[in-house]
């Protein structure tokens, strides 16, 4: 009979009866129901609503008592009969074996994690909480009721079979329900809806569509975003979650690329180290024996690089950052004490000292600290150094390791690293010794004048640095300047300080 149909409270308006994902599709009033070919007495005057999941019949006379709901999932077939003379058009629904599989009808449940009340869903059983996504515990764990034993509904104590009242709380126990629910499994049940006021064709079309759509079978993951559209906090959290997932994906893909690159770089570093070893071997051999016969017997038969080429190659290797085979010195993350810092600085100083003696300065006599910093960082590749650490390490390297280099701050504020021959004292001594005193002779002596250009050429420093060195010597009182009529400046030995008046 219509027993498998669920009774609903018809006094509630239809759209309030809908559960979570259910949508109201069509409505038709003036219908009656036939149960297995016979008029159902209580259901002859009513309104039928078709939703995505159910068919609802709301009785007109007694809506709260005689309204019914039918799960569309139970409908196996549907047929349409046109009206004939006195009988109105009908739609017949063949229902399959009524399965009281409760899994298809989901009651609302409360999530244990976030206490969100998941609504009823007429579709598949919800496996995750709608708000937090926590897994719904399996039904079997919620309230297992072994068949043989009686569970008290008040205190959930499992009584022995045959008990009439609970041993603990004393509530009368219900009679054990027979296991088998009387269903007519072998027979197919049919139901007819008679349209006494028309609207049958459109209704049937909608019903067919709903039956075909089978909205109760949609997977849960699709439900999630649809249900949460427009929800406030959950929407934001969701957006954040999707962003982080996207970024982690991209990072993962990038890291994959980087790993591939480092794998390549490792091979390049190995190549460079073998190359530099060969070059050193080469230079050692060529310095030891100068006869051409020994040179031809070297393993590198293709070309014998000149010393200039050797240094060029070495410098290029530095510039590419492929020389630190052991990897750069990095400060361990857990070092906080000053002892650790000192050790770190010592290691850094050792590293930079090694680089400098290998030729980081590129053969020039005086190099600005900015160039050294860039070169060292390029050599390190990763774990770049801050300027303060760099200066501290450099100072340690200079004072401690006997490199023979000096650090000097010029008047413009530029700090340079220089070889001993370019210290202030030795530079000035050299400058003045090349100047014959102007007291001798009347012949114009062209060597007397110093300009930044010829100092740069003579001392092998950059022109700007040469100008600053000359300026430093002038500030010391050793030189004085002559400005030519068209603006050029040149310096010569300062004779003014020792000169006494010999005019009128």
């Amino acid at each position: 009979m219509l027993a498998w149909l669920q009774s609903v409270d018809g006094s509630i308006p239809p759209h309030a009866l809908l559960v979570a994902e259910e949508r109201l599709l069509a409505t038709q009033n003036g219908v009656g129901l036939y149960d297995n070919g016979q008029k159902s007495p209580n259901h002859q005057q009513g309104t039928v609503h078709v939703t995505s999941h159910r068919l609802l019949y709301i009785d007109d006379a007694r809506p709260e008592l005689c309204s019914l709901a039918l799960q569309l999932s139970t409908v196996a077939q549907s047929e349409y009969y046109n009206g004939f003379l006195t009988s109105s058009s009908k739609v017949e629904l063949v229902l399959n074996s009524a399965s009281t599989d409760d899994d298809d009808d989901d009651e609302g449940w409360t999530c244990a994690i976030c206490a969100h009340e998941n609504p009823r869903s007429l579709g598949q059983r919800r496996t995750h909480c709608a708000l937090c996504g926590a897994v719904r515990p399996a039904k079997s764990t919620s309230a297992p009721a072994p068949a043989n034993e009686l569970q008290c509904t008040v205190c959930t104590f499992i009584n022995v079979q045959g008990a009439t009242s609970c041993e603990i709380c004393g509530t009368p126990l219900p009679l054990p329900k027979p296991k088998s629910i009387p269903t007519q499994t072998n027979e197919r049940q049919t139901m007819k809806i008679s349209f006494r006021k028309g609207g049958d064709k459109a209704f049937y079309a909608v019903l067919k569509k709903a039956l075909q759509a089978k909205a109760w079978k949609v997977t849960q993951t699709a439900d999630l975003p649809r249900a949460e559209q427009g929800a406030g906090i959950s929407g934001i959290l969701n957006a954040v979650e999707s962003n982080t997932s996207a970024s982690t994906d991209s990072v993962a893909s990038a890291l994959k690329d980087l790993e591939a690159l480092t794998a390549q770089a490792k091979s390049m570093v190995a190549l460079a180290s073998t190359l530099s070893a060969k070059l050193q071997q080469q230079s050692a051999q060529s310095s030891l024996s100068s006869s051409p016969s020994s040179r031809s017997s070297t393993p590198l038969s293709s070309s014998t690089p000149t010393p200039d080429a050797t240094s060029f190659i070495q410098r290029s290797l530095y510039n590419m950052g492929l020389t630190l085979s052991e990897g750069p010195v990095v400060q361990s993350s857990d070092s906080n004490s000053s002892g650790d810092e000192r050790r770190y600085l010592d290691e850094l100083a050792a590293e930079v000292g090694g680089l400098l003696s290998d030729g980081l300065m590129g053969g020039r006599g005086m190099v600005g600290l900015d160039e050294i910093w860039c070169a060292w960082n390029r050599a390190r590749g990763v774990a770049l150094l801050a300027p303060e650490t760099f200066i501290a390490a450099l100072q340690k390297a200079i004072t401690g390791r006997g490199l023979g280099l000096g650090m000097r701050t010029l008047k413009s504020g530029l700090i340079v690293l220089h070889e001993p021959r370019l210290s202030h004292a030795s530079f000035c001594a050299r400058l003045l010794s090349s100047t014959p005193p102007p007291f001798s002779g009347t012949v114009e002596d062209t060597q007397v004048w110093h300009t930044p250009l010829d100092v740069a050429a003579r001392e092998d420093v950059a022109v700007a640095l040469a100008a600053q060195l000359l300026q430093a010597a002038e500030d010391d009182g050793l030189l004085w300047r002559d400005v030519e009529p068209f603006g050029g400046v040149r310096w010569t030995r300062n004779v003014l300080k020792d000169w006494t008046w010999d005019g009128d």
């Binding site: 009347t442 114009e444 007397v448 009182g477 004085w480 400005v483 300062n494 003014l496 008046w501």
Partner: protein, 191 residues
Amino acid sequence: MALRRRTLPSGFTLPSIHSLHPFFTHQTVPTTLAVQTEHWTRLILSYARHARLFTLGVEDADLKTGPWADILYNPEIARSVKPAHLESLIATLVAQGKAYYDPPKQTRTVLLLWRTLDEWAEVLFTWASDTGQLNTILTFYEIQEPELKSELSGIPTPLLRRAIQALIKSSRAQLIDGTEGGGVRIFASTR
């Protein structure tokens, strides 16, 4: 760049440092600049005394001819004192009290005091008494352009006025205002 002394046709001997190029460049290092300025001011004053030049201005710099060209320009090394340098030298002279800005409230021309004002007053008094012109009315022109060349020939009027003021302070002269110009009467002290 030979260091040697040069004697001008007028008989003035320039110091040997005048033949060095950097001497004409406004030095930047303070110690060197101080020594250079000292020598330049001494040179300027002694030449002014020799050539009896009373005024010096910034416009005298960078000139190849003119009363100061012998000092401020050296043709052998083709260097001359630049106007900015000369202006600073003038400022130093004024600060030392060896010159004063005339006309006042500008910093370009000065009157040189290679004799102090008191010395000038004495010279004036001595001249007046030697030429027997004490207690006589004298015009400024008479003092500045006498028939016979004197120590006071060519003295500019502002300087002469200041010297007369000094004499007035020591009660030895009085200024007389005629209808056409100024006059002075010098007499022996009334003290």
